[in-house]
């Protein structure tokens, strides 16, 4: 018997191999089918929305309920809301992540915190909106304002901040901390000088993801601080504000006789912000991961 005959696949093996190839192709096709909408949506937004984009569109205020003019007030409002959410979610989220990664033991309290985080992330956005209305708008007396909307967004994005930061802190090797403790450093000195600098931009990634989420959300802000139309720019946190996401909702559902390209131009702006933020997060992650030596 020749060697080739010995190593030739038996009919059974050949069939397994064919099946394997077919299955692989099928799965690749399904994956691409899932990803097709990303490209499709981008294409539709660019084709329909790009003609509406111009410097004027960003710099002029909306007129005729948003049917004409630009989106300047909505852009500024979104910046206010997002910055507010970030200011509140950042310290709380980082503190929680440090507690969970550096101090918490494996006990019932830690498990409860983790369950709370998972649930906070899973609560529907409209429930966050109800909470914002009940707690911040009425109970705390902020009224419908940037402050109330930012608080609502902060509560909603807190889990994102915690999880991203916690993961990056836990990726720092234990030996780094032990070496530092052996030098007589306190826990906090270890965290501040060793763990945080070596966490590879985890806080930055969390921060970017929070911005991404806060910019895109509509339901939590539409009853807590975002308004349909407001001529002046906001002056302080007790003002109401327009927001990009809510503006997109109103021009595509509430206002009639809007030119067809306006909602798509607003959507394109929104998605460009989100994509830029995501690209930045991916870059930070890859860049800092590449620098790691352990």
């Amino acid at each position: 018997m020749s060697l080739q005959a010995v190593f030739r696949a038996t009919p059974h093996e050949a069939r397994s191999f064919t099946v394997q190839q077919l299955v692989r192709l099928l799965f690749l096709a399904m994956t691409l089918l899932l990803l097709l909408p990303v490209l499709g949506i981008l294409a539709v937004l660019v084709v329909e929305g790009a003609p509406g984009l111009s410097l004027d569109f960003f710099l002029t205020k909306p007129r005729d309920n948003g049917a004409a003019g630009g989106i300047a007030t909505a852009l500024v409002g979104t910046i206010w809301l997002t910055a507010g959410a970030l200011l509140l979610a950042l310290p709380l989220g980082v503190a929680a992540a440090i507690y969970l990664s550096e101090y918490a033991r494996d006990n019932w309290l830690t498990r409860t915190i983790n369950i709370a985080i998972v649930n906070l992330a899973g609560v529907p956005s409209i429930v966050h909106a109800l909470f914002g209305v009940g707690a911040f708008v009425h109970f705390m007396g902020f009224g419908k304002s940037i402050l109330a909307a930012s608080c609502t967004l902060a509560v909603m994005t807190l889990p994102v901040m915690i999880v991203a930061t916690r993961e990056s802190l836990q990726a720092v090797p234990k030996a780094f901390r032990e070496a530092c403790w052996n030098m007589g450093a306190t826990r906090w000195q270890t965290i501040w000088r060793i763990v945080l600098p070596n966490s590879g931009g985890g806080i930055l990634t969390g921060l970017i993801l929070v911005v991404c989420r806060a910019v895109g959300e509509t339901a939590p802000i539409m009853f807590t601080g975002a308004v349909f139309l407001r001529e002046p720019f906001p002056n302080d946190v007790f003002d109401k504000a327009m927001a990009l996401s809510f503006h997109l909702y109103t021009v595509s559902t509430q206002v009639t006789d809007v030119p067809a390209h306006v909602p798509f131009a607003v959507a394109l702006t929104l998605i460009l912000v989100v994509l830029a933020m995501n690209a930045l997060a991916i870059y930070v992650r890859m860049h800092l991961r590449g620098r790691k030596k352990w």
């Binding site: 394997q20 299955v23 399904m30 994956t31 089918l33 899932l34 990803l35 909408p37 990303v38 949506i41 709380l92 503190a95 929680a96 440090i98 507690y99 969970l100 101090y103 918490a104 409860t112 915190i113 369950i115 709370a116 649930n119 906070l120 899973g122 609560v123 529907p124 409209i126 429930v127 909106a129 109800l130 009940g134 109970f139 509560v155 807190l158 889990p159 915690i162 306190t186 826990r187 906090w188 000195q189 965290i191 501040w192 910019v215 895109g216 509509t218 339901a219 539409m222 996401s245 997109l248 909702y249 595509s252 559902t253 798509f264 959507a267 929104l270 989100v274 994509l275 995501n278 991916i282």
Partner: protein, 319 residues
């Protein structure tokens, strides 16, 4: 460190003028106090998640409680066929909303689960290197598209596609919202399913390969059976994501307050109803309060889904 609280703070000499032994051993310098303060601050941050989830429950429950106890019949809420909160006398039958939510979520899962599982298996078991990185980035981008943009797509793009493909009059219907929600829920299902596959030890794969199994046989016979709890959790969390979605479904479902009879009927969901009516309801009115009761219902359902998923992923592994 605990018993040091009985000692004197540093920097103060005792009356004899010579530093005592206790004093010499005291380590409470500035760094110690900073450490103590940081620990307290960080602990407060750690508690914030519990604080907020508790606060959400308390605020939503108290806003709707008085109405729920005195004037609302739970039977009517769950099984009543008419949601007419603004006519006189008002009817608070949420069955159309519950049915709409169930129908749309079911369609969403029919769309999302096959796609997401195939993507998870392909990314986790077949794809290598650069291809894998790119696929993961694209999945992240799919997850990052804001819900109001999905709503716009449903309103303008998916609507005309459905009208042309199925030759129906109404393009904003259960099918439209279901496809949109399915695509929105798919990334989270993919990510969690991939984690579940990753949790299967490589040694098991290698053992099967050593017996001559092809990589598909390894996946089908070894990896998938072991990953089943994690995959169930992925589907559950996908359901949670889909039925909690608000703005996209409000824009794509047509928002018709009746029980849908086919996937080409318009429908309304619980979330969309709250979003559509909260702005109009006078604060403290029956209508306002019943919306909070619906919110409480959503809160409990997501809580149950998340706890079950958490138990599937974590609890069983410890046990």
């Amino acid at each position: 460190m605990q018993d040091s609280s009985t000692r004197e703070p540093p920097g103060e000499n005792d009356p004899s003028g010579a530093p005592s032994l206790a004093h010499a051993l005291d380590r409470r310098d500035a760094a110690w106090w900073i450490d103590w303060g940081a620990r307290a601050g960080v602990f407060f941050g750690g508690m914030s998640a519990i604080l907020f989830i508790g606060a959400i429950f308390v605020f939503i429950a108290t806003q709707g409680l008085e109405f729920a106890i005195h004037r609302l019949s739970i039977g009517e809420l769950l099984f009543g066929l008419h949601w007419e909160p603004t006519v006189e006398p008002p009817h608070y039958g949420a069955l159309p909303l519950i049915a709409g939510t169930a129908a749309i979520t079911a369609v969403a899962m029919l769309v999302a689960v096959p796609l997401a599982f195939c993507a998870a298996i392909y990314i986790g078991e077949f794809a290598r290197g650069r291809q894998r990185e790119w696929l993961k980035i694209l999945i992240e981008l799919l997850a990052a598209i804001p819900s109001v943009v999905w709503g716009l797509i449903g309103l303008h793009v998916m609507k005309s596609i459905i009208q042309q493909v199925f030759h129906v009059q109404v393009g904003l219907n259960v099918l439209n919202a279901g496809i949109i929600l399915g695509l929105m829920a798919a990334p989270i299902i993919t990510t969690i399913a991939e984690d579940a596959l990753k949790a299967v030890p490589d040694a098991h794969r290698e053992a099967a390969e050593a017996l001559g199994a092809t990589s598909w046989q390894v996946v089908w016979r070894v990896v998938l059976p072991q990953a089943r709890p994690g995959l169930s959790a992925a589907v559950l969390l996908g359901i949670g994501r889909a039925f909690g979605e608000t703005i996209a479904v409000l824009m794509a479902s047509g928002h018709r307050l009746m029980i849908p009879e086919s996937i080409f009927d318009s429908a309304a969901t619980i979330t969309a109803t709250i979003a559509a009516e909260l702005g109009e309801a006078a604060v403290g009115s029956d209508h306002y309060q019943v919306l909070f009761v619906l919110g409480l219902l959503l809160f409990f359902i997501t809580f149950a889904i998340n706890l079950t998923a958490d138990w599937l992923v974590r609890g069983r592994r410890h046990a």
